[in-house]
Amino acid sequence: MTTQQIDLSEWTFWLPIAFTIFGIGLFILSRFWTRAWFATFTLTIAGVTALTVASPFVGWWLPAQGSSFSGEVDNLFLLIMFLTGLFFLLTEGLILFVLWNHAPKPGTAPLPIHGDHRLELIWTVVPGILLALIAVIQMPTWARMKGQGNESWLSARYESGGDKADLLLTVQGRQWEWRVRYRDPSAPPLARPLEWATHPEASDLHAVNEVHAYPGAKVRLLLRTQDVIHSFFVPELRLKQDMLPGRTVPTWFIPTVPAGTSNETRWEIACAELCGGNHYRMRGHLVIHPDKASFETWYSTAAREQSRRSRPPETGPLARKTN
């Protein structure tokens, strides 16, 4: 698919060289054209703006949305993108305007102005209001993502609350794999799910590097680690949570898939916190079955297989390239 060796004919190689020559050309131009520096700044700022605007159209953008809160997070991202984009265009535009003019009109001189109270007030109050807006508007989303999923932001906190979950599982990180343990969905709900995270039961289903779920299931994860800090990251879920040695950190998600999906959806699980040399190979998969029935079929098959083996799975192999 993509070559990993240095390919001199690819745009990634010749374009930076062209930009370097272009920069040197702008320098030469600046020796006899006073607006060459305006051109340098304008083209650079236009370039980064163009890349940002074009990226979504060439597939360089947010991953697919795969959880109940992913849309909410993306909207917040787009809102901030819009507001900061406005400020970016305004301020960079003003700089470019100054660079274009670069000198007062003939016969006039710069004015000895030391400040202006009204202007200071304006550019303190207006950004202040917008920032306050950004601050307030995100609180409910944060509360939903980190809390039970239905509380106000005041009570947002990590809770065990496994009784309300459809699937309860412990993911334990270790160098360099995810060890997954499911609580039997047909078993009676636990009074203290956090305790279960450290006290396995015989009916638990063990797996390595694979988390299975189905659309609409409220999945509660109890994150633990055996050795160093890892971070459970599924880009499509917009979910990332560190695993702390000595602690159980609960988190949750409800997977969603596009309507009419009839196959399994596979997303990659990545480790987002440096955890040693093979940090980058700590890859797992989140498998979303098309519906609850097919998940249950998978679960009972896996449980039967486990009882035949009668012991938890061995350490899985380190992730390898599939391409």
Binding site: T12, L15, I45, E268, R281
Partner: protein
Amino acid sequence: MSAPVSHHTDDHAPSGFLSRYVFSKDHKVIGIQFFFSSILFLLLGGALALLVRLQVGYPEQALGLLTYCFPFLQSRIPAEWGGRMSPEFYTMLFTMHASVMIFFVIIPWLTGAFGNFLIPLMIGARDMAFPTLNMLSYWFMWPAFICICASFFVDGGASGVGWTAYPTLSSAATANGDWASPAARHAGAGHVLWLISLMFVGVSSLMGSINYITTVIHCRAPGMSLWRMPLTVWALLITAILQSVALPPLTVALIMQLLDKTAGTTFFLPPGGVGFGNWTTGPGGGQPLLWQHLFWFYSHPAVYIMILPAMGMVSDIMVAFCRKPLFGYKPMVFSMAAIAGLGFIVWGHHMFQSGMDPRLGTGFMLATIMIALPSAIKTFNWLATIWGGDIVFSSAMLNALAFVSMFIIGGLSGIFMAATPVDVVFHDTYFIVAHIHYVLFLSSLFGIYAATYYWYPKMFGRCMSENLGQLHFAPTFILANCTFYPMHILGIGGHPRRYYDPTLYEFLLPFQSLNRFMTVSAVLLGLVQILFIVNVFGSLFWGKKASRNPWNSNGLEWDTPSPPPHGNFDVTPLVLRGPYEYAVTGPSSDHLTQTQTEGQQS
């Protein structure tokens, strides 16, 4: 204590070579010592960065001849990787890149080099308040230099646990005391040296900052009231206060981790201990999260330590090259003070996903969002300063303009991470890498370049080449954006940082072409910096001789010969006004320096 302390140095003008250039107590020589050691470490940090980029851009490329360029590379290329660097080696590269750039380049260059050189000159003092302490602050850097350089060659190599050194990856130790770590190959003796090295840097900075605070409070020339100080001095003063408050917790944390590592304490080990394979540590008595709190309590303010001095210097440079007074002097000072004050209550924004109580996250989010406000105020005041100015496109001015236009990007991208739900996505991805480089490379380093071009004539009595300086600027500006801007896009796509081979992941494959583009840009960016190095060293010998005031600026430092003699001023200057009287009808020019009486010929 009415006479300025610095007067004591009068009688001690240095005589021999050693006391003049090596163990000098003259603030200018100490500043220049910091200046040159920072440049040397910039080369090391840059080389490490290029190796990092090479690996991320071309994960399957063998190093080939490059192996022989770095002596510490040769022994670290295990056969099973077919001439490629090993993943463990890669962790060392980015750890040491960040550590070198932060603790040995940006902080010493801004506060050590420019802070030392400029503060006494700009406030009209003959030297620092404590010259011997000042000398010590530089010589305390040398154990740090030696430890950090030696760490590359010890068994296991230099530290590879990230510059943040999160336990238990960094602190886990085997019981037999040979420092080999059960958690990572690069967390043994090299990491112990890293901890010791940073402790020395911290002590050095602490001595420097106490000296700066005392000097600014105590040694100002007659007439130099606080509200007549240039923004550079204000920025360095506020930075020194930040350092003196933030460094002690870091030093304590470093000592705690050093003890965990070497003496068997368990400050950062949880009560249940941790296990690696079949080997388990004993029970601990601490918390890994404690390190993160202590570390970020220093390292968030450190971000401002690395940007505030540049902000101050860029303000002073811009007024000189747009021939207009600074717009909003007091708002500029107040917003710097606000950044410094708020800077102490936002550290938790690095820990939104750490497992910290999410309600705490909300509190840190509010403070973090609010800290964007003073930065916005500063930006608008810079814009108003250059508005309608008569702009001189000197190398210094171009770099200063780059600072402002790029700080806007770095500042705005910070708002994304401040928003807690969005940070869930961006935390520990390339978006953060982009943000930190827009602040530290495209802002701090451009500010450092601007200050170097601007004050070099005062430091060495010769000007840097303008042609070479501008030839350096144009491709640097473009290539720095090519190298760092696409990292935002990678981050939006969820690309985790610190990955040895991102092509292992299907969701990252579409981004690999951008990775290659950034790598080629980075290599070219590195090559272009040779022009700057050539300019710095070549101008020492071939630069045009500098007059006292080559830029027609107002600050007191331009009242002295270039370079200033021991003791700085012929007579103690009498300060009549602030440093921003441009666009006025002066005696012979369009400005009034801080000491000129109106009508007096300059």
